[in-house]
Symmetry: none
């Protein structure tokens, strides 16, 4: 049997059953476990499966989805959230877009202030469900599962009617030279609108976002008003733009 035939057969078995066991495959094809492991490694590399101890599964279950990202670096995000919510004043209207850091910020918003929160991330609306003093406006439209946010024309249309005191901009690249950037065209469009409709631009970012550049430009670095980041990560370079730095 040719190697590629075997790989194809494994893929079919994965599609049929959702999982395969390395032992079974070795016995079934009459090859060693090592060969099967090599096959699974190759299939995983091509994104056709996800290796687990004992075999492989279809790559369907939530890898890299919001839940995982949320628990990632949870302590840092909580500290970023506390520092960011300190910038909020009673009575303000906030745009908050999607992202796990922004979700942490939403949860940390002071419950005793009257705030209006406008968001295109359903998870953020849900997180604010037990804050009776907050007015929450959801921007609807087509929901992008991987981003956890509503994107597209409908969402943008709704945003153009709402002006805010502050926009808490979610995960993206921040660079002194190339400014603030987003990974995705659809994501970028709604973020640009939110920037245009807000007085202050606030970014809370983990260190890995600093100095990185994504394809779609949102704004110059000078447009940023407040930057909340971990201390030490070469943040001094941002002072030249009159950005208020909040190291944690």
């Amino acid at each position: 049997m040719l190697t590629e035939e075997r790989l194809d057969a494994i893929r079919r078995m994965l599609d049929d059953h959702g999982k395969v066991l390395a032992n079974d495959l070795a016995a079934q094809f009459g090859v060693s476990d090592d060969t099967i492991r090599r096959d699974l490694r190759e299939l995983a590399r091509l994104g056709h499966c996800r290796r687990v101890y004992g075999g492989a599964l279809l790559p369907a279950p939530d890898i890299g989805t919001l839940a995982v990202r949320t628990s990632d670096q949870a302590d840092i995000k909580a500290r970023l959230a506390r520092a960011t919510t300190a910038l909020v004043r009673d009575g303000q209207t906030l745009y908050i877009d999607a992202g796990s850091t922004n979700l942490a910020i939403a949860k940390a918003l002071p419950k005793d202030m009257r705030l209006t929160v406008v968001t295109n991330a359903p998870a953020i609306a849900t997180a604010l469900s037990d804050n009776p003093k907050h007015t929450i406006i959801v921007l609807g439209g087509l929901y992008d599962q991987s981003k956890g946010a509503c994107l597209g024309a409908q969402t943008i249309r709704e945003a153009t009617n709402i002006f805010a005191d502050m926009f808490i901009l979610g995960a993206c690249g921040v660079d002194t030279e190339l400014g603030v950037t987003a990974l995705d065209a659809g994501e970028a469009e709604i973020k640009r609108v939110m920037i245009a409709q807000s007085s202050l631009l606030v970014i809370a970012a983990t260190t890995d976002k600093l100095g990185t550049v994504a394809p779609f430009k949102l704004a110059d670095a000078a447009r940023i008003d407040h930057l909340v980041v971990e201390d030490g990560a070469g943040i001094e370079a941002y002072r030249q733009f009159d950005i208020e730095l909040h190291p944690i």
Copy 2:
């Protein structure tokens, strides 16, 4: 059985019943208590459950009102959900409005069907985040914290543009004489629009909803196409309206 399969099975049991017992799980999977405890620790670390003495519960505590209702009668709601999702066909467009039963239904939707789900409940959009074959449309607008849904003029305006094969109507009163009713005027308005825009009207209700009447009328009982309820609760009276009954 692969470790990850076991973790997944535990998560499903948690979703269905709202709780799991370490002993039962060990017996059921044929592994030691220690292994189950390790699994529960891992699930708790990922935020999928909350460990308690003897087992684990759904992570209810911080989200307050909505979450309490969610874990309440979780067992019955999971059975209602399974019976309701059996009515869904590949390629259909569904309206799903807010409510803890509807959230359970959304989670139980078959992942292998291409569905378009339109909802005014952010929690339902979030729950469907890991279903890549589903198209999700969020109806935005002013978010009502106590209902967990977007209500009001903006939401209604968006709904008037979307027609669906089926509307899965959430918690309200159902009575043979006085029809389907809602507790709240704002809630009632959006529900009426969703009813008007849908071919089939489906209601999945716990027994306490049957025979109760709320102030705001949504539709006559005869408008209901499918009624999914617990068995025995005097459901025969609904047969006169040509409603398809699905006792569980």
